[in-house]
Amino acid sequence: AAEMKGKIYYLVPTLLDEFQTGSIDAITKFMGDVGYEVVSLDGQNRTDLQLSQIDDVINLKPAAVILAAVDFDAAKTGIEKMRAAGIPVMIFDRQITSTPSDFTSVAGTIEIGHVAADEITRLLTEKNGSAKGKVLQILGDPGDPYTLEIQQGFEEKMADNGDVTIITHPAMQWEATNAGTIAQDQLLTNPDIDLIFVHAAHLAVAVAAVLEAQGKKPGEIMLVSSNGAPVGLDLIRKGWEQVEVEQPMVAQAAALAMFADKVINGEEIKPGTYDVTGLESVVTIEEWGPNIKIPGAAITKDNVDDVKFWGNMKPPTDPVMSVE
Amino acid sequence: MTTTTPLLQLQDIRKNFGAIEALRGVTFDVSGGEVVALLGDNGAGKSTLVKIMAGGQPPSSGKVIFEGKERHFESPAEAKEAGIETVYQDLSLCTNVDVVSNFFMGRELTRKVLGVPILRQREMEIETAKALKEGGTNIPSLRVNVAHLSGGQRQAIELNRFVHWGGKLVLLDEPFAALGVEQTRRGLEMIERVRQRGIGVILITHVMAQAFAVADRIVVLRHGVVAGDVQTSQSSPDEVVNMITGGIERVAKGLANQPETGAGT
């Protein structure tokens, strides 16, 4: 391998979630393409642990830090500390707007909620003739802002879209069995539920299993999920799930690598439209610094095999190139 | 030894645990400066009675009259405040701390520093050593945890700490059961000294010789009732054993408050 240009630390918030584990592989590969070695540290979903990781990493004087915050805002002090120590900070996946950073690459949680709302409206209209019906929304942990922002985006859009009853329950600690139990209980008391929207594909696993155990046919009760993990795509293929709102994880990671040199060398990042692994992405200069937003797509039966979805786990083999 | 009101009177004390009636109407009394031996077979209810007098258990019914006033001790702390000291049959030691801590349990010597009470460790150690020595008990080190002491050494701590604290009435539930010959002798002497200070003593034992050595009066419990209440000087070990095992019953009514020597009123 070529001589490495330096070490980058990736602070990943948890490993109990396919998106996160997938992102480690993607970031490690793409950063390798542009000449950086990546070391990942698992925050185990604990804000305090992630803050202490930041403290430790500062002592290790890395070329840069990629941060996917356990908590959106609690990382603020940590970011300030790192930048004060002269370490460039790139924000990944979980957008932080309360303090400046050197580069941000996200999909946008509110937007995921919007996409889901539109897809669900479409599905309900196809089934019931118009945008009406009953949706069971299963959140992740109610203490996790990620799920709450999807909820917010979803509900504000649904309010505009028509007359849909939404029942919301949280799956504590993002635990799949909890999601399954909620679905099972709700199907008894609200047998007229048309569709279940879960906030992560691994939750859909348990929900689909419950539907199956209750003798439901695939599609009899529709299932929509967000994040586009491999199991989600499997469920679409088997017909249990109708739509998965993809987070463009691969592209999000690739974007980091494309701009890594510029960030680390302190060069200016120009706003505009860039091609990131084939996706058209927009760089804007926000209050908190340069920000690239990559559109997420709705995955359905029709396009489920598209290799560009990270859930198919065929990351592009072409190396990413640094932006000139 | 006068005929004033007794120090402690029990009237028709009953105690049941679920279906089991441990005490079925016990009435007796003890005066200041009097030593009463409370005898009875295993399971007769002696320890239960002690716990009631010591505030550890409420009676199911009946009256406890202390210094002429009816009292309902809600806790051992209250009984203690009123002047009742107790040595329990099932030892009440904290085996996880050392001898000194146990000796001064609940009455630690302290000095205040900026209003904060600080333990006076050295003073307590010296006092403990003195008391145990007087009791004739050899303990390798006072800083050793009680868990490492022999049965008799433990009992010695418990027995010797009570005299240290004075009070008005002392309840001793088989305090010599694990003690050696010499330690028992000194224990009996100690009771004698306590009596001379005008303190009332109730002593439970299974050994007739001990009862007859120090007691002014002997009260026998049998199946939860008083089966005998006699002046020591007017009875004999054989007679008392007979009362215990149910051969005879003898309650000397009206004689309960008599002085221990002499027979007149």
Binding site: L15, L16, D17, E18, Q20, T21, G22, L139, P142, I167, H169, P170, M172, Q173, W174, E175, A176, T177, N178, G180, T181, I182, Q184, D185, Q186, L188, T189, A201, H202, V205, A206, A208, A209, V210, E212, A213, A229, P230, V231, D234, L235, K238 | N16, G18, A19, I20, E21, A22, R24, G43, R222, H223, G224, V225, A227, G246, I248, E249, R250, V251
Partner: protein
């Protein structure tokens, strides 16, 4: 003045023996009473709660916590504890899912004939549990390390192993023969629920009627005494940890069947629930005390509360508060026991 006295402590005359017995029985089984009261209140106050399906759900959803609670109870009764059960359950589920799962990270092993997957996967799950249980037991017994810390370490590393094995990925899709447990019913009651009931019957029997069960109880009461009495304390305690592990493995196997796969955080949070159920059910954390019938009621009670919350449709932010409050309320009810006993018995 010489008379014979009666020969034995008498029955108190204040309360007829019969009524006392009934009262004693009720007090001994107060958790069940509370469960009934709670279910009645929910049935009356929560719309659509009162239907067979809900009660079956309560039973079925109790399965996993219920089964690991048995292992926890056994170790607690013996004066130790087993915190690893939650992670062992997840580990067993993950091992099985990784081997047989067809989607996600699954290895899609196909056996011939197909039904073989059923016994083979069961054995795998039990073996996983037995291995972790043996490690726990040996460390506790041979090296006499505190069970809390041993099993806390297992709790951490076993979950870590789940993450490591799966690479954090989920598995979906198990062969049909392995989903029998989650799908089939007997007399309208899901097999999962039957398994739960079976486990409780078997272990309640073991505890009450066999020397093993009795020794467990006595070891928890006074280990020195049992040791002096020549009871093989070490062997029994080790066996208990192995049993606890195997029960967790079994629960994991059922859980894999139920979720038709496994995820890296499967079962997270169940340890606390199991602990709560066990303690509500009357098992003492100091050892030597507890009956599985109480634990069963405790499990059902918690499951009922959770189901009620699922059915009620309240703002999600309040579920945890309500759960905590209800647990407390249930325990408060239970303390009436002492008051009643003191006053009337």
């Amino acid at each position: 003045m010489t008379t014979e006295t009666a020969t034995a402590p008498h029955n108190s005359s204040e309360m007829p023996a019969r009524r006392r017995q009934v009262l004693e029985f009720l007090l001994d089984n107060l958790v069940w009473l509370i469960l009934i009261v709670v279910l009645a209140v929910f049935s009356v106050s929560i719309d659509q709660f009162l239907q067979i399906g809900i009660f079956i759900n309560i039973l079925q959803n109790s399965t996993f916590i219920g089964i690991i609670a048995v292992g926890l109870s056994l170790t607690l009764i013996a004066g130790h504890m087993d915190l690893s059960i939650e992670s062992v359950m997840a580990l067993a589920a993950m091992v099985v899912a990784l081997t047989f799962g067809t989607g996600g990270a699954g290895g899609a092993l196909a056996l011939e004939p197909a039904w073989l997957a059923f016994p083979v996967s069961l054995l795998m799950a039990l073996a996983v549990g037995a291995i972790v249980g043996t490690i726990n037991g040996v460390l506790v017994v041979r090296l006499s390390i505190n069970a809390f810390i041993v099993t806390l370490a297992s709790f951490i590393w076993a979950r870590g192993l789940v993450v490591a094995l799966s690479g954090g990925r989920s598995v979906y899709g198990l062969p049909d023969s392995m989903r029998v447990m989650a799908v089939d019913q007997i007399y309208g009651i899901p097999l999962l629920a039957w398994m739960l009931i079976l486990v409780y019957i078997v272990f309640a029997f073991i505890l009450a009627k066999t020397p093993f069960g009795r020794h467990l109880m006595m070891i928890g009461g006074n280990e020195v005494a049992t040791y002096r009495a020549g009871i093989k304390v070490g062997a029994i305690v080790t066996a208990t940890f192995i049993l606890s592990g195997m029960l967790a493995g079994f629960a994991g196997w059922l859980l894999a069947s139920r979720t038709a796969g496994a995820t890296a955080n499967l079962g997270i949070g169940m340890l606390f629930q199991a602990f709560a159920a066990v303690v509500i059910g009357g098992v003492s954390l100091k050892g030597g005390q507890g009956r599985l019938s109480g634990v069963f009621a405790g499990v059902l009670l918690l499951s009922s509360i959770q189901t009620a919350i699922n059915v009620m449709g309240m703002p999600p932010h309040y579920t945890q508060m309500i759960q905590g409050g209800l647990v407390l309320a249930a325990v408060l009810l239970d303390t009436m026991k002492n008051t009643i006993r003191r006053r009337y018995l």
